[in-house]
């Protein structure tokens, strides 16, 4: 196929591509997947910074519970009267920090950005199956973000029942002030967000299934696409359940139903609700909530696979095993939600069953981690910032993953449930690991998004500050949890046994502040490089996948001419016999006779015969 040659004079391509684009249609209500990806990313980054600031606020409170910081009153007013954060506002901070990070940053910011950017690029499609739905997906997300931030300007404060919003705390406004208007806004925001996810998910799945270019069969898709595909399936099946949970909660709050409420005497007032069960909400919530952590971590795993393989200059080890383990995680993720509820009063036998399924899910996760290490083995590793973040991601995934074996074990969970051990566990395995996956994606695909390179040295600085910071913040928390310190505690001052941890809290908070300031290096680098970065070449990382065959300048429809056909899997790095250490997916086997193995032809007798002939002529000996 001649379509592999990409011309740089895309601008001269047929005039039918030239839509009359105004600022509004190009940058705001864009239907182009590349622009939408950037919108998702930048919104995600803004939300991440916001949520990070919230976390630093409550970290300050935890480290210095007896000190006043009058400057806080300047910014927070009555929520920090006298320079000290109030307990209710502290709970709002942890609630909104969690919600934003999990949903807006690590779900929309991560899979929204990279699914939009990479799905059409890497499978060879001109755009998404439905660009309009894609645009709507972003705008629902954007409105959800605005409403969530808006809840800070409500008299009674933002939602403060924890990101899991367990009723009755979230349902009864008299139990906590954040359950007034703030919670209503939370629920509205979340409903819009789920609409966004469903619109996005349908789009990703249909694009991947229907719009792959010629030759791109499922087993030739990069692992990124596999992970986005499976993530979208998980999201599509589980998010609607959260809608039902949220809608029933809205009914309980506003229309006097009793789905989740029963036998309540709140603040001395006997409530009329009867017959509901708070446990029902927990089942519905975690039916999404647990798959959600895989929605968060699977795209990060996909991005990491691609980056590690490219930068080790080696094929990803065990491609099929990687896909099967992703599939395994996808399936199992739906039947493990009960491990969040071992001590809620769920039938203990059921707890035992959930424990078995939970520990099974560790097997595919372990396979992935080992395969990453095997990929590094005897590689030729290039430490771009993206690669460092990918290695950091694997490190967090393992360090945080092993503690899951404690928490998945119902008997051990009795003592660890809802303590800092849990905080440490999920901040490492899904928080830090996913953020690192996302950042590794940003550094790696930045040239594709903006046509320029990011500054490498600032990238290194950012990596080391964040990597060390994250470990110093989260590793000590395990020990607090083992000691029995509960999460979401406003201060450790009321219990003699917790006092020893205040010194550790100071270390943690300083680490958080330094790591937080380290993000400035990223923000300067990210936004500065949009205009001032070095101009990118077409394939700066010498990568095999299709997106690097598109011109640097973004054009409508991605490829100026025909969409290239795909001839091989995406991981032909350092193939023996080839003069370069990478072979793009668009290069046909006929051009790489010197490096082909018989295995490549998957039993195509004719091709094997030709290859055999060629080998004989050129004295090349290959194992049969």
């Amino acid at each position: 196929m001649s379509s592999t040659v990409i011309s740089h004079d895309a601008a001269h391509h047929g005039s039918h591509d030239h839509h009359h684009e105004t600022f509004l249609t190009k940058y705001i209500f864009s239907q182009d997947h590349k622009m939408i990806a950037k919108q998702f990313l930048i919104t995600g980054i803004i939300m991440a910074v916001f949520a990070m600031l919230l976390s630093i606020l409550f970290r300050i409170q935890l480290a210095w519970p007896d000190k006043d910081f009058p400057i806080l009153e300047v910014f927070l007013g009555k929520w920090a009267e006298g320079g000290r954060i109030k307990p209710e506002f502290f709970l709002s901070l942890v609630t909104i920090h969690g919600t934003m990070m999990v949903f807006f940053v690590l779900t929309a910011g991560l899979s929204g950005t990279f699914s939009n950017l990479l799905i059409p690029y890497q499978i060879g499609a001109r755009d998404m199956a439905s660009p309009l739905m894609n645009m709507l997906s972003y705008w629902f997300f954007f409105v959800a973000c605005v409403i969530m931030i808006g809840s800070f300007f409500v008299e009674s404060g933002p939602a403060s029942a924890g990101w899991t919003i367990y009723p009755p705390l979230s349902a009864v406004p008299t139990s906590i002030s954040g359950s007034g208007m703030g919670m209503t806004l939370w629920l509205i925001s979340m409903t819009l967000f789920i609409a966004s996810q469903v619109l996005g998910g349908v789009n990703y799945i249909s694009t991947i299934l229907n719009m792959r270019t010629k030759g791109m069969d499922l087993w030739r898709m990069p692992l990124t696409i596999w992970s986005f595909f499976l993530t979208a399936i998980v999201g599509l099946l589980s998010f609607p359940v959260l809608v039902s949970a949220v809608v029933l909660l809205i009914f309980d709050r506003s229309f006097g139903t009793s789905f989740y409420l029963s036998d309540l005497v709140v603040q001395g007032q006997i409530l009329p609700n009867e017959g509901g069960s708070p446990i029902l909400f927990q089942h519905l919530f975690w039916f999404l909530g647990h798959p959600e952590v895989y929605i968060v971590v699977m795209p990060a795993l996909g991005l990491t696979s691609e980056v590690i393989s490219t930068n080790s200059r080696k094929p990803i080890f065990g491609y099929h095993a990687m896909v099967y383990s992703l599939v395994g995680i996808t399936v199992l993720s739906f039947i493990v939600w009960g491990h969040h509820m071992f001590v809620t009063g769920m039938n203990p036998f059921l707890g035992g069953v959930f424990m078995i399924t939970t520990l099974i899910i560790a097997v595919p996760s372990a396979v992935k981690a080992f395969n990453y290490i095997a990929t590094l083995w005897r590689g030729n590793i290039r430490f771009t910032p993206a690669m460092l973040f990918a290695i950091g991601m694997v490190s967090f995934f393992v360090s945080g993953g092993v503690t899951g074996i404690f928490l998945g074990n119902a008997a051990l969970d009795i003592n660890l449930h809802d303590t800092y051990f849990v905080v440490a566990h999920f901040h490492l395995v899904m928080g830090s690991a996913s953020i690192f996956g996302m950042l590794c994606g940003v550094y790696h695909w930045y040239p594709k998004m903006f046509g320029r390179m990011m500054n490498t040295k600032l990238g290194y600085l950012h990596f080391w500050l964040t990597f060390l910071g994250a470990y110093l913040v989260f590793f000590p928390m395990h020990f607090m949890g083992i000691d029995g310190v509960p999460r979401r505690y406003y201060a450790f001052t009321e219990f003699p046994f917790m006092e020893k941890w205040v010194s550790v809290n100071i270390l943690v908070t300083w680490a958080a502040i330094v790591a937080g300031l380290g993000q400035v290096a990223f923000l300067v680098n990210f936004f500065g490089s949009i205009w001032r970065g070095k101009k990118a070449t077409q394939n700066p990382w010498k990568s095999n996948t299709l997106e690097w065959t598109t011109p640097v300048e973004h054009i409508h429809g991605n490829w100026p001419g025909e969409i290239p056909a795909v001839h091989r899997w995406p991981y032909d790095y350092s193939k023996p016999g080839h003069d370069e250490d990478f072979i793009s997916q668009v290069v046909p086997y006929s051009q790489t006779m010197s490096s082909n193995s018989y295995h490549d032809f998957e039993g195509d007798e004719e091709a094997i015969a030709i290859q055999r002939e060629w080998n004989k002529e050129n004295n090349r000996s290959v194992e049969e």
Partner: protein
């Protein structure tokens, strides 16, 4: 071109440094002033508060304070934020900017150094790559040291042996899991980071094309699967032994009920009859906050415990309920936790094995107490919702129990009697 960028950079840098110096010097001066200002401010407020109480006579203070007094209330004065706060804030912002500038200068110096190396033809394009590989190796050392340090120091702080029968089983399992997971974590990190170092990019080297090895992959699928199966079975049976207790043992145990509410716990012991009276949340009043139904005569001798006091070596069955929202009944030393959920009763049965006195000796802390705390977010005072737990000998327990008050207090008895008369009255009235 490069020169131009450099020039622009230099000018920006110069300006920044100038500006920061310009600001930093006065800010430092303010810092010193601040101490003085602060003390004055404190004087002002304290004096003005005092003045309000004792009226105008006390205006003996410095002239500055008299102004405050004349302008009015101390509350208004407190509302205003000391300008020093802003100065401090901007001081720290500037400090950060100075750090950024220093980092930028260092970055620029490095790139100038690299440029000169390039001009001299001595530039090694892989130098940075090697540096990062070395840093990863250093990180490995730091990581291993950190694991060792935290396990020995913080681990020592956090670990106390369980003081219940089932807790000992949990501890054994915890240690086994800890050994396995720590081993995996350390081995994986040694491999990950040392591979990163060993196989860093070198000129003229090609990676080894090694797409898969089915045998190896099978091994590292099956081995974790076996290890996890062992852990699952072990955990499953432990979990079952904790949670499914035979009915006769349930009945023979000491029964205690704990009710969680914002933000306190109430404890109810059955009286001499060994049975607790019924509770109906609709009967909750200010006098009867527990909502006990006194029509049920079992409730008449129910005892309200000031703390949770338990006899050592005896099986206790806790009935955990909630009055308003979800709380969690959590005693870390006992390895006991179950949520208090409104509308349903949860149970946890266990046997404490070490008295508080023995534990104090063991901890070498004469003030040490077991504590039960709320472990499910429940509102503003969630962080201070606790109840002391005391484990004593059987004799001490009986003695303690006899000193505790009853839920059916005299006031309630009177009210109850009154109510019954009224009800009778109403029924007779309606009959008429």
């Amino acid at each position: 071109m490069k020169l131009k960028i450099n020039n622009r950079f230099k000018s920006i840098l110069g300006c920044l440094l100038l500006i920061s110096l310009f600001f930093a010097a006065p800010v430092l001066a303010y810092q010193q002033d601040a101490v003085v200002v602060d003390t004055i401010a404190v004087e002002e407020t304290s004096v003005s508060v005092g003045v309000e109480a004792v009226e105008a006579d006390t205006v003996i203070a410095a002239s500055s304070t008299s102004e405050v007094v004349s302008t009015g209330t101390a509350a208004v004065e407190l509302k205003q934020i000391d300008p020093q706060v802003y100065k401090d804030f901007f001081y720290y912002v500037l400090l950060f900017l100075v750090i950024c500038t220093v980092i930028a200068v260092i970055g620029k110096v490095i790139s100038i150094y690299e440029l000169t190396r390039k001009m001299n033809g001595k530039y090694n394009p892989l130098a940075n790559n090697t540096l990062q590989a070395v840093l990863l190796l250093l990180f490995l050392i730091f990581f291993l040291w950190g694991v060792y340090y935290s396990y020995t120091v913080w681990g020592d702080w956090s670990w106390r042996d369980a003081v219940t029968e089932h807790g000992e089983k949990i501890d054994t399992m915890f240690i086994i899991t800890l050994v396995i997971t720590t081993f995996v974590m350390i081995v994986v990190h040694i491999l990950l980071l040392s591979f990163a170092y060993i196989y860093r990019m070198r000129a003229n080297r090609k990676a080894y094309f090694y797409p898969h090895n089915d045998t190896v992959e099978k091994i590292w699928t099956v081995v974790p699967a076996i290890v996890l199966t062992v852990l699952v079975l072990f955990g499953f049976f432990t979990w079952r032994s904790i949670t499914s207790i035979p009915e006769d043992l349930q009945k023979s145990a000491l029964q205690v009920e704990v009710l969680g509410e914002q933000f306190m716990w109430r404890v109810r012991y059955p009286g001499t009859d060994g049975e607790m009276g019924k509770r109906n949340y609709k009967l909750t009043t200010a006098e009867n906050p527990y909502g006990i139904d006194f029509n049920d005569k079992n409730s008449w001798d129910d005892i309200s415990g000031e703390h949770i006091v338990l006899p050592v070596g005896r099986s206790v069955r806790f009935h955990i309920i909630s009055k308003d929202i979800i709380h969690s009944f959590y005693i870390p030393d006992f390895r006991v936790q179950i949520n208090a959920v409104p509308g349903m009763t949860n149970y946890f049965q266990f046997t404490p094995t070490v008295t508080t006195e023995e534990m104090r000796d063991r901890m070498n802390d004469p003030k040490y107490d077991y504590v039960m705390l709320c472990n499910k977010i429940c509102g503003s005072a969630h962080y201070n919702m606790q109840k002391k737990v005391v484990v004593v000998t059987e004799a001490e327990y009986k003695q303690w129990l006899s000193t505790q008050g009853k839920y059916f207090t005299e006031d309630l008895q009177k009210e109850f009697a009154q109510q019954n008369i009224e009800i009778e009255g109403i029924t007779t009235a309606s009959l008429n």
